[in-house]
Symmetry: D2
Amino acid sequence: MSLPEEFHEIAGRVNNWGRWGSDDEIGTLNLITDEVVQGAAACVRTGRRVPLGLPLQQDGVQTGMVPGRVNPLHTMVQINLETFGPGTVAWSDDAVTMGLQSATHWDALTHVSHSGRIYNGRPADTITPHGGAEFSGIDKARHIVTRGVLLDVPRALGLDRLTGDHAVTPDDLEAAEELAGTRVRSGDVVLVRTGQIRTYLAGDRHAYAYPSPGLSVRTPEWFHARDVAAVANDTLTFEIFPPEIENLWLPVHALNLVEMGMLQGQNWNLEELSTACGEEGRYSFLLSATPEPFVGATGTPVAPVAVL
Amino acid sequence: MSLPEEFHEIAGRVNNWGRWGSDDEIGTLNLITDEVVQGAAACVRTGRRVPLGLPLQQDGVQTGMVPGRVNPLHTMVQINLETFGPGTVAWSDDAVTMGLQSATHWDALTHVSHSGRIYNGRPADTITPHGGAEFSGIDKARHIVTRGVLLDVPRALGLDRLTGDHAVTPDDLEAAEELAGTRVRSGDVVLVRTGQIRTYLAGDRHAYAYPSPGLSVRTPEWFHARDVAAVANDTLTFEIFPPEIENLWLPVHALNLVEMGMLQGQNWNLEELSTACGEEGRYSFLLSATPEPFVGATGTPVAPVAVL
Amino acid sequence: MSLPEEFHEIAGRVNNWGRWGSDDEIGTLNLITDEVVQGAAACVRTGRRVPLGLPLQQDGVQTGMVPGRVNPLHTMVQINLETFGPGTVAWSDDAVTMGLQSATHWDALTHVSHSGRIYNGRPADTITPHGGAEFSGIDKARHIVTRGVLLDVPRALGLDRLTGDHAVTPDDLEAAEELAGTRVRSGDVVLVRTGQIRTYLAGDRHAYAYPSPGLSVRTPEWFHARDVAAVANDTLTFEIFPPEIENLWLPVHALNLVEMGMLQGQNWNLEELSTACGEEGRYSFLLSATPEPFVGATGTPVAPVAVL
Amino acid sequence: MSLPEEFHEIAGRVNNWGRWGSDDEIGTLNLITDEVVQGAAACVRTGRRVPLGLPLQQDGVQTGMVPGRVNPLHTMVQINLETFGPGTVAWSDDAVTMGLQSATHWDALTHVSHSGRIYNGRPADTITPHGGAEFSGIDKARHIVTRGVLLDVPRALGLDRLTGDHAVTPDDLEAAEELAGTRVRSGDVVLVRTGQIRTYLAGDRHAYAYPSPGLSVRTPEWFHARDVAAVANDTLTFEIFPPEIENLWLPVHALNLVEMGMLQGQNWNLEELSTACGEEGRYSFLLSATPEPFVGATGTPVAPVAVL
């Protein structure tokens, strides 16, 4: 089996290998310039803050469908321990075990590979058990603070949430962009709402996982044309699942991460943000979403915040 | 043994129990109002971003001195796995186990207790193995974006770094404040640099751990007077260790977390920020430092960023 | 709510507190004397060995029904790493995270408590986050090698496996004992087969979990009368689940572990042993089932072997 | 760099590839026949049992020298939780994270490779992150019950323990064999005592780790000649460390595991056994040391017991 010709055609159009030099490890994050950040700060008007991370807990979004991608197991190591004697100050400590892709997270550029290659044409086997990703580990993305734009697709379409067979297309994105009243531009992080996470929030993680609306294989070209820095959404799979094209699995992952060198975020809770943007009548804001710097990791939890 | 009278006197002066109602779980984070955040955004001039988190890795700051506070163990769960057949898109996944207080972190208000009480007078035994902290878990601190001020004590004193027996006093803080050219005010997060983390960065985690400069038991009153939202520094122990007053262990923790209800941050790398502030000639900035929302946790990793 | 009178009546009849002194932490394991072990060795005739542990893997018996009891997550830390240079000997290492009660395991005497007490009348709050069980942690059971007897209930009853509503009674045990052709005696470990684990082995862990046949609240008296050292079976819950008596949950656990001070084993795979015993025409053997000595743990994985 | 000619010469003499067929995954464990087990049972005279596993705890033997080989982190998940209401039976659960080679353990045959090969000539790259060792994972060693022989080298030499520069030679083994009063034979598991673990038991894990006495590169031929099933000892490194031959690292591992296909055990506590054997005047016994069956693992904790 190999990837179809159609995939390679799109890949050729969105490929950014070499664009920021052969040494580059962060791809489109290069587009977040100091000027972009100045513009992001200028988006802050009311100072209202909206967190976008799901609570980290055993009762998380993972169903067991992806082997080894375990929900956070939080345990107490000490509770009110009086190390220095009775009546002294007591302390508590905790520990956690979790899959780095299990909750609200960024995929590192190395989360997928195809044809033996990762972003910027490096060999995929530079990811090893000892040390993880030698190149483009998530720790290389040192900070992510930029302008965020919410593209609220179901609201633009007059829906509560998209159905499981809805592949979000460039037309959908442009409808939401029109609703947003701002044009997506270079260095933005785009948050694409589908509403799918409502099923998880309502208690049904299986319905959340599958089938799932998500980004169409047609969207990477749109993101490339707009030169966005990263894209996140409110689904488990990011792209529509099962896929649009038979036997072409994870094409959007491969186009975004490998070809374009653009980070993806999943399981972002955009419900409260949707409400806030609706109330404030604006859909752009300062977005702060710096990855936890796990060295060599191919993904990482993140606690994103929008500041309106 | 019990806590000395001197401790209780200071405690009485900094106590905030009930100040934001008997239901409050976040203490001085209440001081970060929308207006404060507007002011923080106005601090962004050049758009320069400085990350303050240490890399998360086995070779972290923990020495084994605190039992169970384990450095991050990052392992690969899958590497370039072609789930859907040979020649298809391949994916990688990772997992981690770590102590929540092991790296760059926030202490939750529940990280310490004294006399059987946590912040706002609640019983300490509301922290349990199942679920952790029922009140004031770190997940209750939904977002931390505000103005940050770097108080660069060694620079103000003309030193590379403070020695291990240096308790940072209010005088030190005011010397650094003068250097900073801004007055610390309500809702700020104060970053107190000691330079101690240089020993870890130079490869000696044992020297980093102990003895360590840190905040004096005299500082909580200063923070209380200024109504700061939180304080972080670049040490393992936050306060001077061993302590200033014989047999009074962790008094600053107890005053800040339990009495005042003010979050503390440890192991923040302030070296690059010190350089940047020196170069830019200003020491205030937008600080984004939202905790990873582990439910019921008494501490959490954080990936803070200063935006200048 | 409190435990019903009927429970307390049985408890009074099976209670072993003080029987081996007020310092005792191992209960009925005291019954495994040197002489018993000599007798166990004498049971070995053909030397045929049968392992009774399930494979330890993510795809284990846990369904997520018990929060935090996670299936083993096995990850590689290094693979073929040539630490000492290219062409030298390469090595691999792995790590695991798991619930100690998640797979084939022993419950320690401290796995349950009732009315604030654990075995031998100690307070239940001697189990703490720091260090776990101060008394009767699984590490106190230093070795378990004794005579094992398989009580193959479904075979004795002419069934493939017991149905989910079948509470195994003393009559069932005696029918199986008759089939076994040996009388259960002091110091034996009794393995009670229900056949329930076939559902897991056939791929359905949910059907395995619930509803489940298991031991009746009538059996602790029988075990007490025979002075057995421990009992294990091939179910997730050990006792019938849901329970026989409305609103009386886990009574068999409380009677065995707390009152009698007798270890219980769960998720033991007795299928191959059933076949072997049938072929050899004998149901007693040397059983080796020493717990992994996790200090202070309330349960532990075990890799039991029967030697016929 | 490549392995020296001397290594390859020994390798040729001890190689067992193909001896038990090209499909074999367990090597010398094939030597434990039913008859050997019958003989092992016949070794049981007094029924005295001696456990050989170290307590599993954070304060274990690992010093941090081997990255990622973490001591067991045991945490409580629940403590005395009354799931079914106040006054009902309460339960406790725990979890653990640990390196599989961190404590008393068996190395699987796949723990090392050389020249791209593992035991039986299979490619080393059959060990992958997903699933671990496809061949010769520790779970393939389904049971280990056989005759054990303690070769108490320091006692035979009139020493408390061997010094850190003592490479145990075939002459040493034969001196200890003479003391033991039994000839090591096919299917035995040999336990080689050095006394090194006394340094750990006395509180100094660094002295335990390095320098360490251990097996000489001359011993694999002796084990091969006697056709032993496996060898374990009371050191961290198994073989003498630093090595006898400059720049030849881990040669004993490579000869035993890869060439001979013979399991190795490390960190076995042989002190109590040494005392028992001395008291009883015999050094052979039934040894039960079945590995915890982690699927695809290259090592595993074990709780061995000698029955005299």
